[in-house]
């Protein structure tokens, strides 16, 4: 195709010195790319720009994120997918695939050997230091036997095209390789946003690979069970690829758990579920080796399960990949790989590797020290990711330091040739630009070998002349196509035979950590909504009272201010002597209640607590929910940096917008999650919080007797904040009276917002939770809530209205509400004790430092 007058290619050639995927050195186009470039050209720059925007939007909307450590802006950063895919023709891929299979098998044999016979060392194929000095060689894993067909079950290789035009192996990933889920999401998104880009091109789909993947997990179960219990172990929402853990969990249908959800007892691993402990057969883990078992490995780890390694030893659970496989992420092995390949397979390596020199050998060390500036130096174990030295950029004193370090422990270092890998077109600022690319590939073990994902995850260097390609530091990704000449079916969501799919079967099996997060989501959401509504009511009242210096003289407003403090428990606030100052400038205090995220009970703090429980649950949320949630975040973030934060209308406006979205969000939760998936816990949390706050509101506003006008104002504010003013008018068609208000919002048996109704609902939900069948007795939480229901049924409106002899206080009302509040509090504690039993922290018997 003509490219010289194609504006998309303008400047593609400038500084053309690299090997490029598309342009050959004679400036002709690689024919494999013809059709794709045609399709792109046909779309035109404007369409491409809008498609890229749409893609960015979709990634953002769907919450495809990754986290960057040590970067305040790095949390939940949107994943970037460039609309121009990377492609390789099937003919070339066949060789690459063979190479990946060979390398998977080879690493599998090395893994078996180094934790078994150590023939490679005994026979002098590899020097002992390459294994024994590698921090990933875990002596605790020595001689463990596995029942699986292969020891290495998942393998991931980073490939890049070298100067000779072949795909080279750059890195081996064997502990808990990431990227599979992102690769899948990239394919789904490209198919959705850019159907035209596939025109006349047949792309291989990864559906079969994921089927194999699922099959591998099922067959990994040590006891040949038909329905093994498989879980995905994540370090938690702060991990850089948490999105993917949650994504794989909902894609495969296996529960996402943290170390806290699992426990080792009686020689087996169990998942703490709401009802009981449930045996776990297979753990697909995204936690690194040394963090997996604080008993035998790193004792400061809270990400693993104490005693796990011994269960593995007893063959009662399978970890995918096995603990200890990190020893294969070992650049010290590279110089010996071909010899190892000859030793085990009697053949040469198919995929070339970067020329590497292990400094533990004298000749190699001398070479490295004499040529240091042309080399890249690495530690053989990558536990410390920062210790890769690009020597050409080092200052003389840094070079000297490195030399000394190499000389002190030469066996720890490997030097590699500097390689310039190929570039591929990336769509940037309306044009195509050559960028370095790195392809992450994936293979999965089965009985007779390994299956390889057709394609994988392509990552692009962030700048034109950048050497580094890594998601750890940010960066862009691409869809990775294996193109073929044969027709392929399109990808469909979840397009595999799911006859063997196992999922959580009911509320009984809900991991208790998930249950706890759902419960707290409900509570925080309820709190956020009630706080926002009440603050809005107060702000509205302030503007209608012609907010001025004499403000404190308004009896009703004073009462409302004090209620704000009571309801949110943000003492002293407007209350007592210390409250005098706040009353001087009430807007300042209200602003602090809204914005101060460090203040317990503030709206900002509630919202941020809600965010945390939300992120821990994201495998349960739908895309719509993500969208609304993200909307709340955005409104809030914009508001935080806005200048005009102090005007009452601005505050009201932002509350209005957030309240609408909170309500939309609540609606979506109810339709997106099943009761058996844990919605019940969310409801209990939500209703309990709302009931508790309503009680606080009534105690604060209805107990004290006021004169007629302030009384009217207060009742109106109460009903407004309760969103019940219209219902009141409809039901009573009368002037606001305290009697009717109490009847409606506390005692009404039909109105869903009344306390009576809420308490009944909580009882109904709690009764549906799993209860101990052995004793047949009511649990404590059942006892407390039924007491509360009994109490509220017994209340009599006339008795509640009785004033004390001074005519100031309705003591009966206050006592009744106090008792109900206390019962709800006890019920909450009892729910935590019964269902979320994480009260006992893991501690070491002896505290040792584990310097790494």
């Amino acid at each position: 195709m003509p490219i010289d007058n194609n504006t998309l290619f303008k400047n593609y050639f400038s500084d053309f010195k690299n090997y490029d995927e598309v342009l050959k050195s004679n400036m002709s186009v690689n024919p494999n790319w013809d059709k794709l470039l045609n399709n792109i050209t046909e779309m035109g720059a404007d369409t491409l720009i809008s498609k890229q925007n749409e893609m960015d939007w979709l990634m953002d909307e769907n919450g495809v994120t990754y986290n960057v450590y040590n970067d305040p802006k790095g949390m939940h950063r949107a994943w970037e997918l460039n609309i121009v895919p990377f492609l390789i023709h099937e003919k070339e891929w066949e060789t690459v695939e063979k190479g990946i299979k060979q390398r998977s098998e080879l690493l599998n044999l090395i893994l078996k050997d180094v934790y078994g016979e150590r023939e490679l060392i005994k026979n002098g194929i590899i020097p002992p230091e390459v294994i024994f000095a590698h921090r990933g060689f875990l002596r605790q894993c020595d001689q463990i036997q596995y029942k699986t067909a292969k020891d290495l079950l998942i393998y991931s290789a980073d490939l890049a095209r070298g100067p000779d035009g072949r795909m080279w192996v750059v890195n081996d990933r064997t502990q808990a390789p990431s990227g599979m889920g992102y690769a899948l999401e990239n394919r789904f998104s490209t198919s959705r946003i850019l159907p035209d880009i596939f025109k006349d091109i047949y792309v291989k789909q990864p559906s079969h690979f994921f089927f194999d993947f699922n099959q591998m997990l099922i067959e990994a179960a040590p006891q040949n069970k038909e329905n093994p219990n498989i879980v995905i172990l994540t370090p938690g929402p702060l991990n850089e690829t948490y999105f993917e853990h949650a994504y794989m969990s909902s894609f495969l249908g296996y529960p996402l758990v943290t170390g806290n959800d699992l426990v080792v007892r009686s020689g087996k691993v169990w998942m703490k579920s709401l009802k009981e402990l449930k045996q776990v057969d297979v753990i697909l883990r995204r936690v690194d080796d040394v963090f997996m078992d604080p008993l035998e490995l790193r004792e400061d780890s809270y990400l693993g399960v104490a005693g796990l390694l011994d269960v593995v030893r007893q063959q009662q659970v399978t970890i995918v990949n096995p603990i200890g496989s990190g020893v294969l992420e070992n650049s010290g092995l590279i110089p010996f790989m071909n010899a190892i390949c000859q030793y085990f397979l009697k053949e040469d390596l198919i995929l070339p590797q970067i020329a590497s020199w292990w400094c533990g050998q004298k000749k190699e060390r001398t070479y490295v020290l004499n040529n240091l500036t042309n080399l890249v130096v690495k530690r053989i174990d990558r536990s410390n990711r920062e210790s890769i030295f690009f020597c050409e950029f080092l200052k003389p004193n840094q070079l000297e330091e490195l030399k000394q370090e190499i000389l002190t422990n030469p066996y720890n270092f490997v030097a590699q040739e500097k390689i310039s890998f190929s570039t591929a077109p990336d769509f940037v600022n309306g044009k195509l630009e050559p960028r370095k690319v790195m392809c992450r590939t994936f293979s999965i073990a089965h009985k007779d070998g390994y299956s390889v994902m057709p394609g994988g995850l392509v990552r692009v260097a962030p700048e034109r002349e950048n050497l580094f390609v890594s998601n750890q530091r940010g960066g862009v990704s691409k869809d990775f196509w294996i193109v073929t000449d044969e027709h392929q079916t399109n990808i469909q969501n979840y397009s595999w035979d799911d006859s063997c799919r196992i999922s959580i079967s009911g509320i009984n099996d809900l991991p208790s950590n998930t249950a706890e997060n759902l419960y707290w989501s409900g509570r925080y959401l309820g709190r956020a909504l009630l706080t926002a509504r009440f603050l809005r009511t107060v702000l509205n009242k302030m503007s209608s009272e012609q907010y001025n210096k004499q403000i404190t003289e308004s009896e009703s407003l004073l009462n409302l201010f004090q209620s704000v403090t009571n309801i949110t428990s943000t003492f002293p606030g407007f209350i007592g002597e210390e409250g005098e100052e706040a009353l001087e400038d009430p807007l300042k205090e209200i602003l602090s209640l809204m914005m101060d995220a460090d203040r317990m009970g503030s709206f900002a703090q509630t919202l941020s607590s809600f965010n945390n429980s939300y992120y821990s649950l994201r495998n349960l949320w739908s895309k719509d929910m993500w969208r609304v949630f993200d909307g709340i975040q955005k409104i809030w973030k914009r508001f935080e940096v806005e200048d005009d934060k102090t005007s009452t209308p601005a505050l009201i406006k932002v509350l209005d917008r957030i309240i609408t979205r909170l309500i939309a969000f609540m609606g979506l939760i109810e339709e997106s999650i099943l009761v058996d998936q844990g919605l019940l816990l969310y409801f209990i949390g939500l209703q309990t919080e709302q009931a508790t706050m309503n009680i606080a509101k009534c105690r604060s506003l209805l107990v004290i007797n006021h004169r007629e006008q302030p009384q009217y104002d207060i009742l109106e504010a109460l009903l407004t904040s309760h969103e019940s003013l219209n219902i009141y008018r409809y039901s009573y068609r009368s002037y606001l009276s305290i009697e009717n208000v109490i009847n409606l919002i506390l005692l009404d048996t039909e109105y869903p917002k009344s306390l009576t109704y809420q308490l009944r609902r909580i009882q109904k939900d709690i009764d549906r939770l799993p209860h101990s069948e052995v004793t047949g007795k009511a649990t404590d939480c059942q006892k407390y809530i039924s007491e509360a229901n009994f109490k509220i049924k017994s209340l009599n409106i006339d008795a509640l209205l009785v004033l004390d002899p001074d005519g100031v206080i309705r003591q009966n009302l206050d006592d009744a509400l106090a008792e109900l509040s206390d019962l709800l509090h006890k019920m909450n504690l009892s729910i935590s004790d019964t269902y979320f039993n994480h009260a006992y922290q893991q501690t070491q018997l002896v505290n040792q430092n584990f310097p790494l």
Binding site: P127, R313, Q842, T843, L845
Partner: protein, 296 residues
């Protein structure tokens, strides 16, 4: 000589423990010159599970878990040991072992011959003995010279640590970093052993950490008190053509019949007598009592 050893570790938990997993490395070895005649591990409360296996270094480790609520954990290892160091090869009477120089030793270790392939890992950094400082190397080089026999050098290193370091049980804990001990020249037997190991490794020889007991003798005329002994540690150097030779820098002697070996590893991290993960919210208090006496 026959000894009985009783080693009790007890923990009191302020707010109780619901559940714990533990690993004990308390079973003395049967090796040349030391025979374990009888061994019992008594744990209270009774563990729900208990298993025994050999670890990577050939030490016997016992893993147990207690699944009932308890406020005290008591682990007692009772051993009966027959010790006769005269059965061990004696370095003093080995012409080659006693005279092999550093230069020759390093040359011989360069090869990957099967006889010392496992020993070579004890030259490498380990969890507690990593980033060996130039100061430690310099300290080692005072004794280790290319043409000097390594046995002689190691012996001198032991003597120097004995005279130059002060025994101070208040100064260090197991978490005190090595360079801190080196700087202050204070510590306990574990620290001295680990300093010596760092020194020996810094010049390229294999050294390992030995954990065990030493019999202490009461002052003349007094009766020995129960529980005054403690667990002990020393170091061992691999001398090519001869084998491992133990040195006790805390007592300035080559271990003989008063030393009982329980386990060895790269450093303390590999062989703590008792470790574990407990599920509890409160603090805990630990007590150790060791008693060694000739069997009657």
């Amino acid at each position: 000589m026959e000894f009985t050893v009783s080693h009790t570790t007890s923990y009191e938990y302020e707010s109780g423990v619901t559940f714990c997993h533990n690993i004990a490395t308390l079973k003395p070895k049967s090796i040349v010159g030391q025979t374990l005649l009888d061994y019992q591990l008594i744990i209270s409360p009774t563990p729900a599970e208990i298993t025994e296996r050999l670890d990577f270094f050939g030490n016997t480790i016992t893993r147990f878990s207690i699944q009932q609520h308890h406020t005290e954990l008591k682990v007692t290892a009772l051993s009966k040991i027959l010790r006769d160091s005269s059965l061990q090869p004696d370095i003093e009477s080995s012409a080659t072992g006693k005279t092999i120089t550093l230069e020759t030793a390093l040359e011989s270790l360069k090869t990957n011959s099967p006889e010392h392939i496992d020993e070579k890992q004890f030259i490498l950094e380990s969890i507690f003995i990593a980033k060996i400082s130039p100061e430690m190397k310099a300290y080692a080089e005072v004794s280790f010279k290319p043409n000097r026999p390594i046995f002689e050098a190691a012996y001198e290193l032991m003597q120097r640590i004995y005279t130059e370091f002060e025994f101070d049980s208040e100064f260090s804990t197991i978490a005190t970093p090595l360079h801190e001990v080196m700087k202050e020249k204070k510590g306990v037997c574990q620290d001295f052993a680990q300093i010596a190991i760092a020194c020996v490794r810094s010049i390229g020889l294999p050294a390992r950490y030995v954990s065990g007991y030493i019999e202490t003798l009461p002052p003349p005329g007094k009766e020995k008190l129960v529980g005054t002994d403690a667990s002990h540690a020393w170091f061992s150097v691999y001398i090519p053509t001869f084998g491992w030779v133990d040195f006790d820098p805390t007592n300035n002697q080559i271990p003989k019949n008063q030393h009982i070996t329980v386990s060895w590893g790269r450093d303390y991290y590999d062989v703590p007598p008792l470790k574990g993960v407990i599920y509890s919210t409160g603090k805990n208090k630990m007590k150790v009592a060791v008693d060694i006496r000739p069997a009657v």
